[in-house]
Amino acid sequence: MRKLLGTAVIVGLGLGTAAPAFAQGEQFIPVLSYRTGAYAVNGVPFANGTLDYLALLNERDGGINGVKIAWEECETGYATDKGVECYERLKGKGTTGAAYVSPLSTGITFALTEKAPGDKIPLLTLGYGRSESRNGAVFPWNFIAMGSYWTGADVAIQHVAKEMGGFDKLKGKKISLVYHDSPYGKEPIPALEAFAKKYDFTFKGIPVTHPGVEQKSQWLSIRQDRPDYVLLWGWGVMNGTSIKEAAAVAYPRDKMIGIWWSGAEPDVTPAGDGAKGYKALMLQHGPGQFGVHAEIKKNVLDKGKGHAKDDFGQVLYNRGLINSFIGTEAIRTAQAKFGKQPMTGEQVRWGFENLNITEARIKEAGFEGMMKPLKLSCTDHQGADLARVQQWDGKEWKVISDWYTADRSVLDPLVAEQSAKYAAEKKITPVDCSKAG
């Protein structure tokens, strides 16, 4: 027992002596990432995008309105307990603590949802996390900007209906969902079940166990079942394996639609030609280089300060850029009200809740073509219901659809129901949004 104490003190010493050397007045943003393990293929480009945009702001503008940004990366390995440790490690750093946290893992998001209100740190979960956290009255600290899995499920069904020639054609059809057996993969199921009831198609969920390299039986069952469409909710190596296995059992790839987390370059390239025809949703954006990329190239990469390699302009890299863009815009919004200094988590939360990224602002920041305007509010922490569909032609992603808008008439009751359940379980009194300012 004595040794134990010794160890604890040593750890303390280690932490303390190397006390953060952040200069006065820096805005600290923790970056939870994973560059190793089964999910690194997707984790790396996202992290690179996230970091490169922050670097761009520092290099080009000297930060946000002159307030320098400081950040630190912490490897979570997509594991919840390591994510929580990273969060605890980083949340108090910098002048004002963490501005916001993007866990990039639905599991970590669930764990941090319990901790964020106590620590007063907003969570930015761009297109992932708790779908019901759209309801800001119950989840004041969660910001599931741009889209939830339920939005994704809805858009996917809309696209299926469109390819079939109308919602009435869905009747009696079979749609299967191959999903990562975790909170992430399970999230869309209630929405899909609701749609199955509404449009009278047969829905079947086929789980794939972490990490997802063994999918033979799943695809054998699909071959025997012959569903009309297969939706894919995978992450990391699971995506590539799914597409390969689909090819191995000769399931037509153009009848597969992946969520926006299953629609990036690392997901399709390992399958080679086998991936040709595979479709995936776009969280508004796709791959490609836009205004902001030129700026990053000029101000960051060419100075040797960036992280991007081959992934520059890839889907997940771009999503990382957007993630940092939205986060820093929230800080900017908060600064407009609270002054040009490092914002606290609470102030950033206000910034998120009053975030309004207009067409003009998007153009100015160089994100034109990557995203549509986004406006969050107390009642709506998601702010957008837009998505498109892209298809892999063997070399690159091609946009093949117009913008879809998710059908909120089905999704909103689900959000209301699940968030009410959460509030009851946690004894939360929902914020009165009419009074929130």
């Binding site: 134990l4 104490l5 932490l15 929580v84 764990a111 057996d181």
Partner: protein
């Protein structure tokens, strides 16, 4: 010179059977407990470095305490009774999920939500029951075969908690979040409060474990471990001894699992109790020392803190390494350390402490 047993005479057997027969050891324990229960809260309250930071309490001490407790449970099974288990993670999960069910009530059978403390203990009881069930094969299967067989429990329960929606109160995502931690009206929320709650649990369970292993049942366990055939011929029933070890071990591990979920994570999914957790616990008891309660603490400390330190050090020292490299280095150094420790002292830290004490007892004379 301070560490001497001379002059300490025992006139009763009960004095001789104390946990620490030596006065110096006893005093050291009291000082440590006093520090943990009174000192740490005071230091934290006055924000005395390093206890002022939440990080130490929440991200290091809290998991350390809970995993120490789980390691004690695992040590009872592996270290004392000699039954290798790779399924400890599953028993943590059973504790966590059943505590959650008791804590949120089971309307199907008309059970209202129970107080959180009762739920946590009941979670442990459920874990113990399942432990007994999965202990039955140990009557026939031995050694590494048993170890792999216990993986059946691990994978089976991983799946159960993913698939059976009842355990998660039909949450669509399958992730559940702990009910409010209300211990007899005391709402445990602040890191310090959480720390004290866990500390109390760990102290009580460490004491219980220590009592058991130095009593009759502990001797039965060790007899089974050292020579099961001879033990049976001595009138020790393997059935009772092995299953009681499974029960006690799973109970403690289950309670630790409930604490891990309720107090540390807050919200969790089955992945929090995966095979990695089982291996981690196994490492803790082996590096710490099989058959030693103290070793469980030392092992937990080492296995938990070393990777964090390895991860922290480069960035704190400003060594320009990418996260990726740090993470790979962490793996390499950690793995090498494990091999090194196993080679240098296969009996773990606990043996090192014993050796150190022996040296100290003789100091300053070498013989």
């Amino acid at each position: 010179m301070l560490y001497r047993e001379t002059g300490q005479f025992k006139s009763t057997y009960s004095a001789d059977m104390g946990i620490f027969p030596l006065r110096q050891d006893r005093n050291a324990l009291f000082v440590l407990l006093a520090f943990a229960f009174i000192g740490v809260p005071l230091l934290a309250h006055f924000h005395v470095w390093p206890f002022g930071s939440e990080y130490l309490l929440r991200a290091i001490l809290l998991p350390f305490l809970i995993l120490s407790m789980a390691a004690i449970g695992v040590n009872i099974l592996i270290g004392y009774c000699g039954q290798i288990s790779l399924g400890s993670g599953a028993f943590m999960a059973i504790g966590a999920y059943m505590a959650y069910k008791f804590g949120t009530g089971m309307p199907e059978i008309g059970l209202p939500p129970l107080p959180v403390l009762v739920s946590i203990l009941l979670g442990g009881v459920c874990s113990a029951l399942v432990g007994i069930l999965f202990g039955i094969p140990s009557l026939r299967i031995k050694g590494l075969y048993l170890a792999v067989a216990t993986l059946a429990a691990q994978f089976f329960f991983d799946w159960v908690f993913l698939r059976v929606a009842w355990f998660t109160n039909y949450a669509p995502s399958g992730s559940v979040s702990a009910p409010e931690l209300n211990v007899f009206g005391w709402v445990v929320n602040e890191p310090l409060e959480r720390y004290l709650l866990c500390l109390t649990f760990v102290t009580v369970f460490a004491l219980i474990a220590k009592n058991l292993v130095r009593g009759n049942i502990g001797r039965q366990w060790m007899a089974i471990r050292d020579m099961d055939i001879a033990a049976e011929l001595m009138g020790i029933r393997p059935f009772f001894a092995k299953l009681s070890a499974f029960a006690v071990s799973s109970f403690i591990v289950g309670v630790a699992g409930a604490l891990w979920a309720f107090v540390y994570l807050g919200a969790w999914e089955p992945l929090a109790f995966s095979i990695d957790r089982s291996l981690q616990l196994l490492f803790m008891v082996i590096i710490g020392g099989l058959g030693s309660i103290l070793g469980s603490f030392l092992g937990a400390g080492f296995i938990l803190i070393v990777p964090i330190m390895l991860n922290l050090v480069p960035s704190e020292l400003g060594v320009p390494l990418s996260t990726e490299t740090i993470s790979h280095l962490e793996f390499i150094i950690f793995g090498s350390l494990i091999c090194f420790l196993l080679i240098k002292e296969p009996h773990g830290f606990a043996r090192l402490v014993t050796l150190m004490k022996e040296k100290l007892r003789l100091w300053p004379f070498p013989y």
